[in-house]
Protein backbone atom coordinates (compact mmCIF):
# COMPACT_ATOMS: atom_id res chain seq x y z
CA UNK A 1 0.00 0.00 0.00
CA UNK A 2 2.78 2.35 0.98
CA UNK A 3 4.72 1.36 -2.12
CA UNK A 4 1.70 2.10 -4.27
CA UNK A 5 1.40 5.50 -2.62
CA UNK A 6 5.05 6.30 -3.30
CA UNK A 7 4.75 5.17 -6.91
CA UNK A 8 1.72 7.43 -7.21
CA UNK A 9 3.67 10.44 -5.96
CA UNK A 10 6.57 9.73 -8.29
CA UNK A 11 4.35 9.38 -11.32
CA UNK A 12 2.48 12.55 -10.35
CA UNK A 13 5.80 14.44 -10.15
CA UNK A 14 6.86 12.96 -13.48
CA UNK A 15 3.59 14.07 -15.03
CA UNK A 16 3.97 17.58 -13.59
CA UNK A 17 7.57 17.78 -14.78
CA UNK A 18 6.72 16.50 -18.23
CA UNK A 19 3.68 18.73 -18.80
CA UNK A 20 4.64 22.00 -17.07
CA UNK A 21 8.36 21.57 -17.77
CA UNK A 22 7.70 20.85 -21.43
CA UNK A 23 5.36 23.84 -21.72
CA UNK A 24 7.91 26.11 -20.01
CA UNK A 25 10.60 24.94 -22.39
CA UNK A 26 8.48 25.53 -25.49
CA UNK A 27 7.49 28.98 -24.20
CA UNK A 28 11.13 29.81 -23.50
CA UNK A 29 12.20 28.78 -27.01
CA UNK A 30 9.44 30.89 -28.56
CA UNK A 31 10.46 33.91 -26.50
CA UNK A 32 14.13 33.34 -27.40
CA UNK A 33 13.36 33.31 -31.12
CA UNK A 34 11.39 36.54 -30.76
CA UNK A 35 14.03 38.37 -28.74
CA UNK A 36 16.85 37.10 -30.93
CA UNK A 37 15.08 38.62 -33.92
CA UNK A 38 14.75 41.95 -32.10
CA UNK A 39 18.44 42.03 -31.21
CA UNK A 40 19.75 40.79 -34.55
CA UNK A 41 21.31 44.16 -35.39
CA UNK A 42 23.71 43.89 -32.45
CA UNK A 43 26.76 42.12 -33.84
CA UNK A 44 28.64 39.71 -31.64
CA UNK A 45 32.23 38.61 -32.26
CA UNK A 46 34.62 36.46 -30.35
CA UNK A 47 37.65 38.09 -31.90
CA UNK A 48 40.05 39.51 -29.39
CA UNK A 49 40.67 42.75 -31.24
CA UNK A 50 38.19 45.09 -32.85
CA UNK A 51 39.21 46.12 -36.40
CA UNK A 52 41.98 48.70 -36.32
CA UNK A 53 40.69 50.66 -39.31
CA UNK A 54 37.48 51.68 -37.57
CA UNK A 55 37.04 54.28 -34.89
CA UNK A 56 34.89 53.39 -31.91
CA UNK A 57 33.35 55.41 -29.16
CA UNK A 58 33.20 54.29 -25.58
CA UNK A 59 33.88 50.70 -24.57
CA UNK A 60 32.09 48.96 -21.73
CA UNK A 61 31.99 45.49 -20.26
CA UNK A 62 28.57 43.89 -20.76
CA UNK A 63 27.31 40.62 -19.42
CA UNK A 64 24.30 38.37 -19.49
CA UNK A 65 23.60 35.52 -17.13
CA UNK A 66 20.92 33.03 -16.28
CA UNK A 67 20.49 30.03 -14.00
CA UNK A 68 18.40 27.24 -15.45
CA UNK A 69 17.22 24.12 -13.71
CA UNK A 70 16.10 20.80 -15.07
CA UNK A 71 12.64 19.44 -14.40
CA UNK A 72 11.77 16.23 -12.63
CA UNK A 73 10.94 14.38 -15.82
CA UNK A 74 14.26 15.32 -17.43
CA UNK A 75 16.15 14.16 -14.39
CA UNK A 76 14.33 10.85 -14.37
CA UNK A 77 14.83 10.34 -18.12
CA UNK A 78 18.51 11.28 -17.87
CA UNK A 79 19.07 8.85 -15.02
CA UNK A 80 17.58 6.06 -17.11
CA UNK A 81 19.55 7.10 -20.18
CA UNK A 82 22.79 7.15 -18.18
CA UNK A 83 22.45 3.43 -17.60
CA UNK A 84 23.18 2.90 -21.28
CA UNK A 85 25.15 6.05 -21.94
CA UNK A 86 24.90 8.08 -25.09
CA UNK A 87 23.50 11.47 -25.93
CA UNK A 88 21.42 13.07 -23.19
CA UNK A 89 19.10 14.99 -25.46
CA UNK A 90 16.93 16.20 -22.57
CA UNK A 91 19.92 18.10 -21.15
CA UNK A 92 21.09 19.43 -24.51
CA UNK A 93 17.98 21.56 -24.78
CA UNK A 94 18.59 22.96 -21.27
CA UNK A 95 22.15 23.93 -22.20
CA UNK A 96 20.98 25.45 -25.46
CA UNK A 97 18.31 27.51 -23.73
CA UNK A 98 20.71 28.74 -21.07
CA UNK A 99 23.42 29.79 -23.44
CA UNK A 100 21.05 31.53 -25.85
CA UNK A 101 19.36 33.33 -22.97
CA UNK A 102 22.75 34.55 -21.71
CA UNK A 103 23.63 35.88 -25.18
CA UNK A 104 20.26 37.62 -25.51
CA UNK A 105 20.70 39.29 -22.11
CA UNK A 106 24.24 40.35 -22.99
CA UNK A 107 22.99 41.86 -26.26
CA UNK A 108 20.19 43.64 -24.42
CA UNK A 109 22.78 45.10 -22.02
CA UNK A 110 24.82 46.26 -25.02
CA UNK A 111 21.77 47.95 -26.50
CA UNK A 112 21.08 49.76 -23.22
CA UNK A 113 24.60 51.18 -23.51
CA UNK A 114 23.84 52.33 -27.05
CA UNK A 115 26.39 49.92 -28.50
CA UNK A 116 26.07 48.08 -31.80
CA UNK A 117 28.85 45.50 -31.45
CA UNK A 118 30.20 43.21 -28.78
CA UNK A 119 33.78 41.97 -29.08
CA UNK A 120 35.79 39.24 -27.39
CA UNK A 121 32.74 37.33 -26.23
CA UNK A 122 33.45 34.61 -23.70
CA UNK A 123 31.14 31.97 -22.28
CA UNK A 124 31.20 30.26 -19.01
CA UNK A 125 29.06 27.52 -17.54
CA UNK A 126 29.09 26.28 -14.00
CA UNK A 127 27.06 23.71 -12.18
CA UNK A 128 25.19 24.83 -9.11
CA UNK A 129 24.02 21.47 -7.85
CA UNK A 130 23.87 21.69 -4.09
CA UNK A 131 24.49 18.90 -1.61
CA UNK A 132 26.24 16.30 -3.72
CA UNK A 133 25.00 12.85 -2.94
CA UNK A 134 21.57 13.89 -1.81
CA UNK A 135 18.99 12.49 -4.20
CA UNK A 136 16.61 15.40 -3.96
CA UNK A 137 19.37 17.93 -4.55
CA UNK A 138 18.78 20.76 -6.95
CA UNK A 139 20.63 20.49 -10.19
CA UNK A 140 20.99 23.73 -12.04
CA UNK A 141 23.56 25.41 -14.21
CA UNK A 142 24.60 28.99 -14.55
CA UNK A 143 25.43 30.37 -17.96
CA UNK A 144 27.22 33.63 -18.49
CA UNK A 145 28.24 35.44 -21.63
CA UNK A 146 30.34 38.57 -21.51
CA UNK A 147 32.22 40.83 -23.83
CA UNK A 148 33.14 44.40 -24.58
CA UNK A 149 30.40 46.53 -26.09
CA UNK A 150 31.56 49.20 -28.52
CA UNK A 151 29.69 52.23 -29.78
CA UNK A 152 30.26 53.37 -33.33
CA UNK A 153 31.73 56.82 -33.69
Amino acid sequence: MELLFQLGIISLLLLIGWSIGGATERRHFRSLVKREAQLRDILVFNERRPPQDQAFGQAALVMGSVVIGEDYFKRFAATLRSLFGGTLRMYESVMDRGRREAIVRMKAAARRQGATMVFNVRFETSSLSADAGQRSSVFSAEFIAYGTALKPR
Binding site: G21, V66, V138
Partner: protein, 104 residues
Protein backbone atom coordinates in the same frame (compact mmCIF):
# COMPACT_ATOMS: atom_id res chain seq x y z
CA UNK B 1 36.79 53.32 -13.68
CA UNK B 2 36.45 51.70 -17.10
CA UNK B 3 36.27 47.99 -17.68
CA UNK B 4 36.83 45.91 -20.78
CA UNK B 5 37.73 42.34 -21.57
CA UNK B 6 39.78 43.41 -24.59
CA UNK B 7 43.53 43.62 -24.28
CA UNK B 8 43.60 47.28 -25.15
CA UNK B 9 41.21 50.17 -24.72
CA UNK B 10 39.76 51.23 -28.08
CA UNK B 11 40.36 54.91 -28.74
CA UNK B 12 42.66 55.33 -25.75
CA UNK B 13 46.28 54.53 -25.04
CA UNK B 14 47.58 52.59 -22.10
CA UNK B 15 50.28 54.62 -20.43
CA UNK B 16 51.03 52.37 -17.49
CA UNK B 17 50.52 48.72 -16.54
CA UNK B 18 49.80 48.22 -12.85
CA UNK B 19 49.56 44.47 -12.61
CA UNK B 20 46.90 41.88 -11.89
CA UNK B 21 43.94 42.85 -9.76
CA UNK B 22 41.20 40.55 -8.59
CA UNK B 23 38.09 40.49 -6.49
CA UNK B 24 36.05 37.59 -5.28
CA UNK B 25 33.15 36.77 -3.05
CA UNK B 26 31.65 33.60 -1.64
CA UNK B 27 27.91 33.53 -1.17
CA UNK B 28 25.51 30.89 -0.15
CA UNK B 29 21.89 30.64 -0.98
CA UNK B 30 19.21 31.85 1.36
CA UNK B 31 17.28 28.93 2.87
CA UNK B 32 13.96 30.32 1.65
CA UNK B 33 15.28 30.87 -1.83
CA UNK B 34 16.82 27.43 -1.86
CA UNK B 35 13.50 25.94 -0.85
CA UNK B 36 11.67 27.84 -3.58
CA UNK B 37 14.29 26.76 -6.11
CA UNK B 38 13.80 23.20 -4.93
CA UNK B 39 10.10 23.45 -5.65
CA UNK B 40 10.75 25.16 -8.96
CA UNK B 41 13.09 22.34 -9.87
CA UNK B 42 10.19 19.93 -10.33
CA UNK B 43 9.05 21.96 -13.30
CA UNK B 44 12.39 23.29 -14.53
CA UNK B 45 13.02 26.64 -16.13
CA UNK B 46 14.87 29.69 -14.94
CA UNK B 47 15.67 29.90 -11.23
CA UNK B 48 15.37 33.69 -10.91
CA UNK B 49 16.48 33.77 -7.28
CA UNK B 50 19.79 32.18 -8.21
CA UNK B 51 20.27 34.37 -11.28
CA UNK B 52 19.86 37.45 -9.09
CA UNK B 53 22.08 36.08 -6.35
CA UNK B 54 24.93 35.32 -8.73
CA UNK B 55 24.55 38.68 -10.44
CA UNK B 56 24.82 40.42 -7.07
CA UNK B 57 27.89 38.32 -6.25
CA UNK B 58 29.47 39.16 -9.57
CA UNK B 59 28.86 42.88 -9.04
CA UNK B 60 30.45 42.57 -5.61
CA UNK B 61 33.48 40.78 -7.11
CA UNK B 62 33.80 43.50 -9.75
CA UNK B 63 33.54 46.21 -7.08
CA UNK B 64 36.37 44.59 -5.10
CA UNK B 65 38.50 44.28 -8.22
CA UNK B 66 37.84 47.93 -9.07
CA UNK B 67 38.79 48.97 -5.52
CA UNK B 68 42.12 47.16 -5.92
CA UNK B 69 42.75 48.79 -9.29
CA UNK B 70 41.98 52.21 -7.84
CA UNK B 71 44.32 51.58 -4.91
CA UNK B 72 47.05 50.73 -7.40
CA UNK B 73 46.49 54.07 -9.10
CA UNK B 74 44.72 52.79 -12.20
CA UNK B 75 41.73 54.24 -14.00
CA UNK B 76 40.78 51.15 -16.03
CA UNK B 77 40.92 47.38 -15.95
CA UNK B 78 41.59 45.52 -19.20
CA UNK B 79 41.35 41.82 -20.06
CA UNK B 80 38.70 41.15 -17.42
CA UNK B 81 37.75 37.50 -16.90
CA UNK B 82 35.18 35.84 -14.68
CA UNK B 83 35.16 32.49 -13.03
CA UNK B 84 32.63 30.72 -10.84
CA UNK B 85 33.23 27.66 -8.75
CA UNK B 86 31.03 25.57 -6.57
CA UNK B 87 33.26 25.29 -3.53
CA UNK B 88 30.94 23.72 -0.98
CA UNK B 89 27.39 22.48 -0.85
CA UNK B 90 25.18 25.45 -1.59
CA UNK B 91 27.98 27.99 -1.78
CA UNK B 92 29.54 29.48 -4.87
CA UNK B 93 32.62 31.60 -5.31
CA UNK B 94 32.50 34.24 -7.98
CA UNK B 95 35.75 35.83 -9.04
CA UNK B 96 36.68 38.64 -11.39
CA UNK B 97 40.24 39.43 -12.41
CA UNK B 98 42.03 41.60 -14.88
CA UNK B 99 44.97 43.91 -15.45
CA UNK B 100 44.87 47.35 -13.91
CA UNK B 101 46.12 50.06 -16.23
CA UNK B 102 46.25 53.78 -16.57
CA UNK B 103 44.71 55.00 -19.80
CA UNK B 104 44.70 58.39 -21.42
Amino acid sequence: MELTNLETFPGKTIVRHLGLVQGSTVRSKHVGKDFMAGLKNFVGGELKGYTELLNESRNEAIARMVAQARAAGGNAVVNVRFSTSNIAAGAAEVMAYGTAVEIR
